[in-house]
């Protein structure tokens, strides 16, 4: 995490790749913890009921943002800017003529968007992007899979190493061979992207020397504010204001001259940064889920706004304590811990292969998967892969950690 001083935030780059040892997930500040704790403690001694809060906007007054509008205000990140940051971090490696480090490994936590980022980076340098092997090739241990493409394999990018193995006795040969070849320089120079959970397992399964590791630095509340603000600025919608629905506090700093003297800055982003562990993809998903609009305050595009009387558009953010997040029971998590852990270690799996990796006593039938889906813990992608949901990830991670399962280092 970059400096926590807000004045430094404009200097710190938004996207920054660092060594794993320098990775710092955002933490809730001591001041915030103490003030929240004291406030809760004070509530025990109040003799009079506090005056009823009149929310700025009740839930009934607000509605979900239409999909098209949401895509404008909080679009899916394309990875281009992160690719530029990765390029900067790789400059020294690219410039070196020595082949003692033929491979760089770029780690990303779940929803770290590494596939898109590495593909965008490969596009910058016109390096070849290697598609992952099929699951059948992994099981059949077709170690010559990587050589099946064009012969001039000298500079390449493998965006998803986690798609090259399975936690099965027959699912490790291919990835071990690949890593051996890549790290020996036999395949030329390459950049490998890997999910942090998958790498936590692979470093136990592969005994080679770890190549240089890079990771996208976590986003604290200031980074999130700048990131979300950049979406809003590029949305083509005239001055957008993001306010918390219950008290009107500003979630993102308002444009100059608009701020109402009585409104404060909300701690929503601080909570979001801590809950999402600074993982941009997860924070982004929660941000999209939290946005609401009032029917009579529909956003206008910039042209319309200029023609009419100037009126900023307000988007309402669901207060953190009212935001619907998966709250699974410990029993549910314990019962299906193997499924959730397997999905994390592979960054998603199709149901039929998931059952190959689990013991016969906990086979994931369709009913089990849909139960976990209805609890908001997993989701099915278009390609049929089941994956941990971004909103469910923090709760699942916390549970697996408490139960002693293998974890990533982030």
């Amino acid at each position: 995490m970059a400096s926590s001083d807000p004045s430094d935030q404009d200097i710190t780059p938004l996207w920054q790749y660092v060594a794993v040892t320098d990775y710092r997930p955002p933490a809730v500040t001591v001041e915030h913890t103490v003030s929240t704790g004291l406030s809760a403690f004070w509530q025990h001694f109040r003799t009079k009921e506090p005056p009823p809060e009149t929310p700025f906007k009740t839930e009934e007054e607000l509605q979900s943002i239409p999909g098209i509008l949401l895509e404008q205000i909080a679009p899916a990140p394309d990875g281009q800017r992160a690719a530029l940051a990765l390029d900067e971090a790789l400059t020294a490696w690219l410039d070196s003529v020595q082949m003692d480090q033929p491979v760089v490994l770029v780690l990303h936590p779940p929803y770290g968007m590494h596939g898109n980022i590495l593909k965008a980076w490969a596009g910058l340098h016109e390096w070849r992007v290697l598609p992952p092997p099929t699951i059948g090739q992994i099981f059949r241990r077709e170690t010559d899979w990587i050589m099946s493409g064009p012969a001039d394999l000298t500079s390449w990018v493998l965006p998803n190493l986690e798609r090259c193995y399975l936690r099965h006795a027959h699912g490790l040969t291919l990835v071990r061979r690949l890593l051996d070849q890549a790290c020996s320089g036999a395949l030329g120079r390459g950049v490998i992207g890997c999910d942090s959970w998958a790498w936590a397992f692979l470093r136990q399964a592969w005994s080679g020397a770890t190549p240089p590791l890079l990771i996208l630095q976590s986003f604290d509340q200031h980074h999130l504010a700048r990131w979300f603000q950049s979406f809003a600025s590029e949305s083509g919608i005239s001055d957008l204001i993001f306010r918390q629905a219950d008290n009107g506090d500003y979630v993102l700093p308002p444009p100059t001259g608009i701020q109402n003297g009585s409104a404060n800055i909300s701690d929503f982003l601080q909570q979001l940064a801590a809950y999402s562990r600074g993982i941009p993809g997860i924070a982004h998903a929660i941000w999209r889920a939290s946005l609401r609009t009032a029917p009579d305050e529909s956003p206008k595009d910039a042209k319309t706004a200029k023609e009419s009387t100037y009126q900023p558009t307000t988007l309402w953010v669901t207060p953190w304590r009212r935001l619907k997040r998966p709250a699974p029971t410990t029993d549910l998590l314990r019962q299906h811990a193997f499924i959730l852990h397997a999905l994390l270690l592979h960054n998603g799996l199709p149901a039929e292969w998931l059952s190959q990796l689990l013991p016969s006593s906990c086979q994931p039938g369709p009913a089990t998967l849909y139960r976990l889906k209805s609890a908001g813990l997993i989701k099915q992608q278009r390609d049929g892969f089941w994956q941990i949901s971004p909103l469910g990830y923090p709760a699942i991670r916390l549970f697996l950690k408490s139960e002693g399962y293998l974890m990533d280092d982030l």
């Binding site: 006795a169 490790l172 397992f201 136990q204 399964a205 689990l358 006593s361 293998l406």
Partner: protein
């Protein structure tokens, strides 16, 4: 027994008459009858009840028997011994001696419980074996340690076992409990390939506590090669599922590899 003691006993029992003896016989007979009745009818009554009430009714049988015997003994003593101070002191002394002998082990278990609380040969959550009984420690009581066996049977073992029994503790207060899966293979096979395969079988088990070491030990035996696959489960309570998973998947992988399993040679039929 010396002369003084004989005289004392004679004085103590000197007032016994024929009537008293008849009364004692009747008391003994009544006691026997009452005990027989409770032992016969209370279980019958319990059979008509359901659930927890049945168990309460059955538990009444020994409690009632104790009450009946205590009552009978008091009635007999009242008739046999003259209630003077000396007689009562002598009686209570003898009673104390008898109770002391009877409760020796009880007291020993209480003291052993105190010792166990600071020496900690077992803690709740440990998997221990005492005198052939293996299970998870559920509770440590004043006199006994309560363990649940893999067959879901609760065993109460007195603490005094720690004086002279070996206490085997598989995880000793930690989450690390070593499990072993055994494979017996025909001696003609590629041992290096099997070692790697069994290692990967353990590595890919979802039950595995991956940060602990995995070991595969091979030993040549007269009937074949014995492989011990040793690894740690995430939770000691999963040890049996873990060994089953290792065995099932290990067997499947070895069969795919084309390795034959060792079999006991058939014993020749003497008649043929």
């Amino acid at each position: 027994m010396n002369n003084d003691q004989t005289e004392n006993l004679a004085a103590l029992l000197g007032h016994l008459t024929e009537t008293t003896i008849v009364q004692i016989v009747l008391i003994v007979a009544g006691t026997w009858l009452l005990i027989a009745l409770t032992q016969r009818f209370l279980p019958m009554l319990a059979g008509k009840l359901a659930g927890r009430n049945r168990l309460y009714m059955l538990a009444l049988v020994p409690a009632l028997r104790l009450c009946i015997i205590t009552g009978a003994v008091l009635l007999i003593l009242q008739r046999v011994i003259e209630p003077t101070l000396e007689n009562l002191v002598g009686l209570l002394g003898a009673l104390g001696l008898a109770v002391g002998f009877a409760s020796k082990d009880y007291v020993s278990s209480l003291i052993a419980g105190v010792v166990a609380s600071y020496e900690m040969p077992y803690r709740p959550g440990d998997w221990i074996e005492i005198d052939g009984t293996y299970g998870e420690v559920q509770a440590i009581r004043l006199r006994t340690v309560e363990i649940v066996t893999p067959d879901d049977t609760v065993a109460h073992i007195p603490h005094l076992q720690i004086w002279n029994q070996t206490i085997l503790n598989a995880n000793d207060g930690s989450q690390h409990l070593l499990c072993v899966a055994n494979f017996y293979l025909h001696p003609r096979h590629n041992a290096v390939q099997v070692l790697k395969l069994l290692h990967d079988v353990a590595l890919t088990s979802p039950f595995l506590q991956i940060e602990r070491p995995i070991n595969v030990i091979a030993q040549e035996k007269p009937f074949g090669t014995h492989y011990c696959l040793k690894a740690y489960p995430i939770d000691p309570r999963q040890q049996f599922h873990f060994v089953t998973d290792l065995t099932v998947r290990g067997k499947a992988m070895l069969l795919q590899l084309g390795v034959e399993f060792a079999t006991t040679p058939a014993i020749a039929d003497p008649a043929s």
